[in-house]
């Protein structure tokens, strides 16, 4: 049976109680490496963004060191995120039920998901985070190279560099907003964090939030240990 709503590796881990395997160790390590890079970039970058926050560069040993490491961490993040991107892109492609979900996003925020369509592994909000991160990371790395004084100082004209710097700042603000949304949604939706720590979620969580995904995994489970 072909997987439509789930990733290879996703499976019902136990049936009593229902525990569902959502992320393998490689994906989790990949996620946390990306997260660590994002946080370090956020701290050093905010230090350059506003004089009030310049003290943050002290966490890296001063402005010079923060300036040195920031772009390199950016490169690591980009490569790390590529891993997440290729693993997750298929299930983050938009589907018809996403439109209904977005129309009823008020109900979602109110915690009333009962009347909404059944969803696969990701809901439209998660897909939004995925694509926002993807686009912003690309924008940040491209503009970042244009600003990387140490190695790429002649890459673009000064006027282009000015624009790149402003775009980099705006994209950075947007990615921080996306990041807050991502972290908050994971905390507010109880039972989500363990997917990225232990790698598993409860059956109740899967049924409540990603029923099509759970349904598919249950069907695969009946067929016996597939893949």
């Amino acid at each position: 049976m072909e997987r439509v709503y789930s990733q290879s590796g996703d499976r019902i881990e136990s049936r009593l109680p229902v525990i569902v395997h959502r992320y393998g160790p490689f994906t989790r390590a990949n996620h946390w490496l990306t997260a660590a890079c994002l946080i370090l970039l956020l701290i050093s970058g905010l230090g350059f963004f506003h004089p009030w926050l310049y003290f943050l560069t002290d966490l890296f040993g001063g402005g010079q060191t923060a300036r040195v490491v920031h772009p390199w961490i950016g490169v690591v993040l980009f490569v790390s995120f590529l891993g997440l991107f290729f693993r997750m892109v298929r299930l983050n492609l938009p589907r018809r039920e996403d439109a209904v979900w977005i129309e009823n996003v008020r109900e979602v925020v109110a915690g009333k998901e009962e009347d909404l369509p059944e969803l696969g592994k990701y809901n439209a909000g998660q897909k939004f985070v995925f694509w926002a991160m993807t686009v912003l990371i690309i924008v940040l790395i491209v503009t970042g190279f244009m600003m990387w004084q140490r190695y790429f100082d002649g890459l673009v004209t000064i006027q282009v560099r000015r624009i790149a710097t402003m775009v980099h700042a705006i994209a950075a603000v947007l990615i921080i907003l996306t990041w807050i949304l991502h972290v908050y949604a994971a905390i507010w939706t109880r039972g989500t964090l363990r997917a990225m720590t232990r790698g598993t979620v409860t059956g109740g969580w899967a049924w409540r939030h990603h029923r099509k995904w759970l349904r598919e995994l249950a069907r695969l489970d009946r067929k016996g240990p597939a893949e």
């Binding site: 350059f48 140490r150 000064i158 109740g204 899967a206 049924w207 249950a218």
Partner: protein
């Protein structure tokens, strides 16, 4: 020790006895990435360096004097087909004579335009506005803009900020360099090294008002010699500069190795350092506080007993 007087002109005989600096930390009127700078207690006389391009003979004594005073070591480079040497401003070359051969379409004469390039010491310095490192760029109340290297982080934002393409970042020390207007000489009553070395009085230094008056004399003389568009280059888009040029053709500054006609801090830099910073920080703050409030006072989205039962039923049903 007595305190040095404020400098008059580089041509006048400067004091020779050791003097206390007349430039105090409290004379800083702008400091990069600093929002709470104390009000200065006094206003120094605004100074300026006047470069009369029509008097320049291209001897490069100014470059040599600059190298000597600042103890820089520009690399020996290749000939790039022009007397301009080195090929560009570098972290080791704060001032550069740019040679342009220009054919005057009105007279068919070949004019050799030699402009001594370097920091213009803007009244409204773009480098200082763009700089993210507190205290890496300062402006004194006499108008001198100076880079304080121990505070510089080498990010290159000053390059984006500068309307004249002046700052250069060293690949060795990773900090930015440019003409200091010999702030260390001016502080003890001397004029800039380049002005002192100039054999034709093409470069003069003193109070800005006096330099403007002197420029007027020079311009009047140039006009009598047929340079009817002679004029002073003191661009108001950056609030005026503390390095000014007398140009034979002030109506076309671009012919002097691309001297900008109307330099100003790029609107992109203004927007980046202005609205982007304020709105960006506010948006992040609102989002973070909003999330925290929703977290404390809102109801979390929790899995119910019914969800668990339904999940169990679903999994069991799908099993044979």
């Amino acid at each position: 020790m007595t305190t040095a007087p404020e400098p008059l002109t580089a041509a006048s005989n400067p004091p020779v006895e050791p003097l206390e600096s007349n430039l105090l930390p409290s004379d800083v009127i702008r400091r990069s990435a600093t929002t709470d700078l104390p009000e200065p207690t006094r206003q120094l006389t605004k100074v300026a360096k006047l470069i009369d391009v029509s008097r320049c003979i291209g001897c490069k004594a100014c470059q040599s004097a600059c190298i000597e005073w600042n103890d820089t070591h520009p690399a020996i480079e290749e000939n790039v087909g022009s007397y301009t040497n080195p090929h560009d401003l570098t972290p080791e070359m704060f001032t550069l004579m740019r040679f342009t051969e220009w054919e005057n379409p009105e007279t068919n004469n070949l004019e050799w335009l030699i402009r001594k390039d370097g920091c213009m010491h803007c009244e409204d310095p773009g480098c200082l506005k763009a700089c993210p490192a507190p205290g890496a760029i300062v402006q004194y109340s006499n108008g001198i803009v100076d880079f304080i290297h121990e505070n510089c982080i080498g990010c290159g934002y000053c390059i984006s900020g500068c309307p004249f393409d002046i700052p250069r970042i060293s690949k060795v020390t990773n900090v930015a360099y440019k003409c200091t207007l010999c702030v260390d000489r001016v502080a003890v009553g001397q004029g800039p090294a380049c002005a002192k070395a100039c054999p034709t009085e093409c470069i003069t230094f003193g109070p800005k008002e006096e330099m403007q008056a002197f420029a007027e004399e020079r311009i009047a003389e140039l006009k009598t010699r047929g340079f009817e568009n002679a004029g002073l280059y003191d661009p108001q888009g950056v609030g005026g500069t503390h390095v000014m040029y007398v140009l034979q053709h002030a109506d076309k500054p671009e012919i002097y190795a691309d001297l900008p006609a109307d330099p100003r801090i790029s609107p992109v830099v203004e927007a980046w350092k202005g609205v982007t910073k304020t709105v960006g920080l506010a948006a992040i703050g609102v989002m973070a506080v909003g999330a925290a409030l929703h977290g404390f006072f809102g109801r979390p989205n929790e899995v119910t007993g019914r969800d668990r039962e339904e999940a169990q039923r679903l999994v069991d049903e799908e099993r044979p």
